[in-house]
């Protein structure tokens, strides 16, 4: 995957089990977000394939791909709430477009989803009127409103205080346990990686490929790759040379 002639990552080969919390981790600039964009349909890979079940995502007809994407829920790094709409409108938009629910039913579902993320009563607020953490939670409510099969999170803990980050981790676990949702998370937040990750891949920014694929806790315990160890131990172990 890359941009024009610039290759960001190559030779990525991994699978995600249904119901897993799967972590895509690596140093800043290694291509985690680019990989996420390829998985969610925003960017076509330079080569290679993405399968959801038996369906080849990028070879499918655009209408089929769109249908697959309706099974996705995405939480962007800074929320990406639509600024001209209230929280209720943000969350209810996909219900309006893709369901036959009436206005009252949509309002009820919106209120329920906002309650799930601890934002009950904030239906009429606009994104500019709430804090960064609240925007994240509202965006999460929007991501789960259609009860998606797969949830994608792009740096979910970015900008959150440790307690809010922990609450978000708990919420992610609850979503997986109660709804059986497969969750793919792009992050380099170690506390979250170890707390909630079932499986992971590590993207090496220097080698431009993935160099590990395992449960993060087992990687920490058993991996002998110095770059992986350095990342997972916050620099205490592994490669010593600093690139200036």
């Amino acid at each position: 995957m890359g941009y024009g002639d610039f290759i960001v990552m190559r030779d990525l080969n991994f699978s995600v089990n249904r119901g897993d919390i799967f972590i895509i981790m690596g140093a800043s600039g290694c291509g985690k977000s680019t990989l996420l964009k390829i998985l969610i349909g925003l960017k076509r890979p330079l080569s290679g394939q993405v399968f959801y079940g038996d369906s080849n995502f990028w070879e499918a007809h655009p209408s089929e791909r769109e249908q697959m994407m309706r099974g996705f829920g995405i939480l962007y790094q800074y929320g990406a709430l639509w600024s001209s709409m209230s929280l209720a409108e943000n969350i209810g938009l996909t219900l309006q477009r893709y369901t036959k629910l009436n206005h009252r039913q949509i309002q009820e579902i919106v209120s329920l989803k906002l309650s799930l993320v601890g934002l009950a009563g904030f239906e009429g607020y606009y994104p500019s009127n709430i804090s960064g953490g609240m925007k994240k939670r509202a965006a999460l409510a929007r991501a789960i409103v259609m009860d998606p099969d797969i949830l994608f999170f792009d740096e979910p803990s970015a900008g959150l205080d440790p307690i809010s980050a922990r609450s978000l981790d708990d919420l992610i676990l609850e979503l997986r346990d109660s709804m059986g949702t497969t969750i793919i998370i792009v992050t380099h937040e170690l506390a979250s990686i170890f707390a909630i990750g079932d499986n992971s891949i590590f993207l090496d920014v220097d080698l431009k490929t993935m160099t590990a694929s395992e449960d993060p806790n087992r990687l920490l315990a058993e991996s002998e790759n110095p770059t992986v160890r350095r990342f997972l131990t916050r620099g205490k172990e592994g490669a010593v040379e600093e690139k200036l």
Binding site: L42, R70, L93, T94, R97
Partner: protein, 198 residues
């Protein structure tokens, strides 16, 4: 109004050489209604509304709001661009008419105030010279300019980079592109009208 004033002033000076200063009413009326009213409105809309569209959509691009629309299966063209274009198509004729009226008023101010043409004479000449064809062509210009301004603003917004400075560049570019498109469209429409004999 100032455009009408300028047209009347320059027109009268030239027409006076032939003793035909009374035809300044025709001159100002036809030019304003057929062309200049729409052009001035289009240029102002490019600067005000085209820039606004580019800034709004560019900011959405920076905040990943457009990515969010796409991943939720909502076409940005249908959701963002089309309503803006329709709004300008529907609304542009109104400020065009206002600009036409103000331009003719400017012509009246100069002609009646400085060059001793009576108001009745000016209005009669304007009524005779400015046909419905001229009015419809002027309104058509307005609609076309509305489409071009909306397209320029929205396109530059969608092409915006992912930084605050990129939004500024997109906004400036939208204005310039809109104005250049207006001038080019004017030339094309004028040529086509000439060929069609209208």
């Amino acid at each position: 109004m100032l455009v009408g004033l300028i047209l009347a002033f320059i027109g009268t000076i030239q027409l006076k050489m032939f003793g035909a200063q009374v035809f300044v009413a025709d001159f100002v009326g036809i030019i304003m209604v057929r062309l200049m009213g729409a052009i001035m409105t289009g240029i102002i809309m490019a600067g005000r509304t085209g820039a606004s569209f580019a800034a709004q959509i560019g900011t959405m691009q920076v905040n990943e709001e457009i990515d969010a629309l796409q991943t939720f299966g909502i076409s940005p063209m249908e959701f963002l661009v089309l309503p803006r274009m329709l709004a300008l198509i529907i609304m542009m004729p109104l400020p065009c008419l206002y600009a036409d009226a103000m331009g003719i008023l400017g012509g009246i101010v100069v002609s009646v105030g400085i060059f001793d043409i009576t108001l009745a004479e000016y209005l009669n000449r304007t009524r005779e010279a400015v046909t419905m064809t001229n009015l419809w062509i002027g309104l058509f210009h307005g609609v076309v300019f509305g489409i071009l301004v909306a397209l320029a603003g929205c396109l530059k917004g969608m092409q915006c980079g992912r930084s605050a400075s990129a939004v500024g560049e997109a906004t400036t570019s939208a204005v310039v592109t809109g104005i250049v498109a207006i001038v080019a469209a004017t030339a094309i429409i004028t040529f086509v009208c000439q060929v069609l004999g209208i």
